[in-house]
Every structure is written in C-alpha cells, then in structure tokens.
Symmetry: C2
Subunit: 278 residues, 2 copies
Amino acid sequence: MKLSLNQWTTRRWTVAEAVEGCVRHGVEAIGLWRQEVAAQGPAETVKLVGDAGLRVSSLCRGGFLTGGSQEAMDDNRRAIDEAAELGAACLVMVVGGLPGVPAGQGPGEGFSRDLPAARERVAEALTLLAPYAGERGVRLALEPLHPMYCADRAVLSTLGQALDLAEPYPVDQVGVVVDTFHVWWDPELFAQIARAGARIASYQVCDFLQPLPADVLLGRGMMGDGVIEFAPITRAVRQAGYAGDVEVEIFNADVWAADPDTVMSTMKDRFASLVLPL
Amino acid sequence: MKLSLNQWTTRRWTVAEAVEGCVRHGVEAIGLWRQEVAAQGPAETVKLVGDAGLRVSSLCRGGFLTGGSQEAMDDNRRAIDEAAELGAACLVMVVGGLPGVPAGQGPGEGFSRDLPAARERVAEALTLLAPYAGERGVRLALEPLHPMYCADRAVLSTLGQALDLAEPYPVDQVGVVVDTFHVWWDPELFAQIARAGARIASYQVCDFLQPLPADVLLGRGMMGDGVIEFAPITRAVRQAGYAGDVEVEIFNADVWAADPDTVMSTMKDRFASLVLPL
C-alpha cells in the first residue's frame, strides 16, 4: 500500500505542479480531478503523468445521478471516457443528494424529499453506466459519503449500502471507496470492509475534525489533527485484500492556505506514522 | 399518537411556563430536561404537571458513560431516580462520545480515539443501570445520534446499533429513541424500525436543516423547514406498534428567539399536516 496524493490536498497546484510535487517528494501516485485535468488538457495530463512514471490512483468524479437527467448521464459517460484515457485505477462516484438540493446550499424550489426514490434512481443509472465503464476498462468506485451530506451530495451513506448497490456487477466494473472521513463512525465498518473484499477500489484517508468548521465540507483534516484511529482501518482494508494506493484527500481551508510543499512533507510523515502501520 | 412538547423547543420558558403553554395550546404531554426540573424544583414540577393533567413523555437526559467514571454512574442513578419521581415514560440516554472530547468542543489533552472501547464501556454501564432502572419502574431509552456527533456526544450512531445494545434487557427496562433528525438518512431505517417493535420508547421529531448552521447542534428545524419526509417514518413507527406521544424537540437559534406561543402554534400546525398523517 503506497501513498498517493489526491490533488485537492494541494489544491492551488495545477496538474503539472502536482505531478512535479509528487516526483520531488517521492510520491508514486496521484488522484486527479476532472476540472483540473480539463484545465491542463487531457492529452498533456496523460503525457505529464506518463513521463513522471506516476500511477493515476483515481479520477474524481462522476455521479450526481439522482436528478435522473440525460445531461447527468452524458456527463458520466464523458467522465468514464476521461478515466479510460488517463488509465485511472477507478472513477470515484459521488452519487448525488435529494433532487433539487444543490451541494452546500439550501433546497431549491420544488426539491424532492423522497429519499428512497433518489436511491432507486442511482441504482437505475448504474445499469447503464456499469456496462459502459466495463467496455472501456474503467472501474466505477461508489463512494459512501458521511450521512451529514445525505441531502445535498450523496444519498449513498454507508459501506454496506454501497456494497448492496455494487453486488449485481463484476468486481472490476463496480467497486467501492473506503474513505476514513466518511465511514469511521460506522458500527458496521469492520464487518463491511471484510465483506467488501475485492470490491475495494480505493482507500482514501484524512481525519475528521472536531468540532466541524462552519462549512462542514471542509471538516477533512490532516491525519492526526482529528479523532480517527487509522491503523485498525488500514489493517482491515489490507486484510480484505486491498493492496493499491492510499489517497490522502483533504478539503481544509488551513491546508489549502499552507505552502503545498510543506503539506506534502507533513502528509508523508503522518502517513508513515499514523496510517500505514499494520 | 399525540403531540408532546419537548421543553427545549420553547427553551426560554421555565417548567411552569411550559406547562401553562401546553395547557393553553391543548398539548397533553411534555418532555422535560433535568436542569430545568432542578431549577423549578422536582416536587413542584411533579405538582405542576399533575395539576395540569400532563403526561411526561420523557426526561432528558442520562448518559455520557464512555469515560467510565464513578461520577457519571452516580449521576445516571440520580437521573433514574428523578425520572421515577416524575413518572416519565422514559429516561433518554445520550451515551457520550470519545473519552476526553467535550460536547461541541475540540478534543482535550490525552483524549481517546478508541471508538470500539468507548462503545464497549456503554454496554458495560448498562449492565448496572438497566436493573437499577427496572427496580424503579423507569425505562431507559437509548438514543442513536447522527453520526456527525459520534466524537463528542454519542458513539451510538444507528438504530440497529441501539437495538443490539438493548437486546439483553427486557423491553420495558431498555428501549430506543427514534429521532427523525438523527436517523432519517439511514438506509436501514425502515427495517430497523420494524425490528424495534415494542423497543420503541420514544418517537421524537424535528427537521434536518440544509445547509447545516455553523453550530451543527442547532441544525434541528421546525418540521417542514428541512429535508425530511415525516409521514413514512411516522407510519413505520406506528406499524411497529408504537402508540405513545410524539415529542417535538427543536434546537434552533431562530426558534429559540421567536415568541414561544407562536412556536407552539406553528408546531401544532406542522405536526398535524406533516408528521401525523398515516
């Protein structure tokens, strides 16, 4: 299990700068974001990453499927194409919240409170997207998000629910993400990680800050700055058979304001001392 | 299923004022808080509630057991005694977060990240408190809190986990709370409500605000102001066999700032139109 930089951890860096940063700090893999790849240019990103010898541990992100729109389906197909072009180990799927509730904002006029229906729409979209991904050699990675994001970002709230959703598909077509921030509280966590086995497509780490900041999206902290005990989770993920990259993905105002090279150094230290010990 | 006022919904009212408010608005039951009862005087509270003919739907709250201290156990025994004196239908138990993490604050020096151990400590405390409660005719009501409070308020995060914890005890000794704010997101919600059956000791309602306010404790809104669809949950609770009072418990800066009589009127309207329809 090797450290990977999710590029939003050093968010002010471009793709080119983040790739250089990985090389400079001896980090062998990177998790990319679609809008940053688009800004750098997909072909140039492929060349930069390839020349640097980096693995692309994930592309973030597809999803937002609960509205049931054709536009969302088309955008997800484009995301799958991009993941294929980049040779990403998976396409992270943040499935979307209640229809009509924009991320981080209040509900829009005429939004829906029908949570079971929203969840059903995700399952329906997968019946089309999973085969499309499979044909292109892309693995979808369903990410359960912390329940505090259920209304606006992901009606997929637990690892168990993600595994139920993935079950009809081959493991190399639909996997799941284990992100410590989102799942650390789950009393079923260790049982569901064991159940997940080869379904684990991505292991992402960051800490859960206490108290949460005013914008709860930015409650993701550097490992050691919050309340999560990482080693047992890493051990469980490893014992379930996962041997891929471990992405550090931090959304945090202070981390974003800090010098990215300092963030990289701290990340490496904390990863070695807190996340990796098996 | 009848409406009950949890007194923190009209927080600036004393017990005496809240009792008068219930009578004035035709609300037949009240959920009391220990510190307000202490301020009014326990004996006077018993008299006020009795003279008004109100049911005491719950006493809030016992719990905070994860630190394993003798003080916490003693305080819980006192809370049980108070619930007995008040003839409360149950004593709500908020079990506590990680040891050394004060509610709403950052972790203290030397706090513990050992979540499984904290959960185990709650189970151990129950082995002493449940019989004590049973001898006094008090029903403990284990309340799963939203996972965003796992670190600082309750390591009990799902209804399923609460039911597992309650299982060794008679249903009239240890029950569970179904609070819409805390459990609305749970993909297992309806299955676990059905499983709960006679274990449901309290049904509490309020809405989940989106976006959450800066202090996430105050994200509890008036029904209709957030994202929860209440009727299916009420129906499930009723079908599970619960026929007790339904407490409206709102922690919200705007609701607390408003005229309590206006809050009572709005509460009654929203309860009738959004919560009760079966």
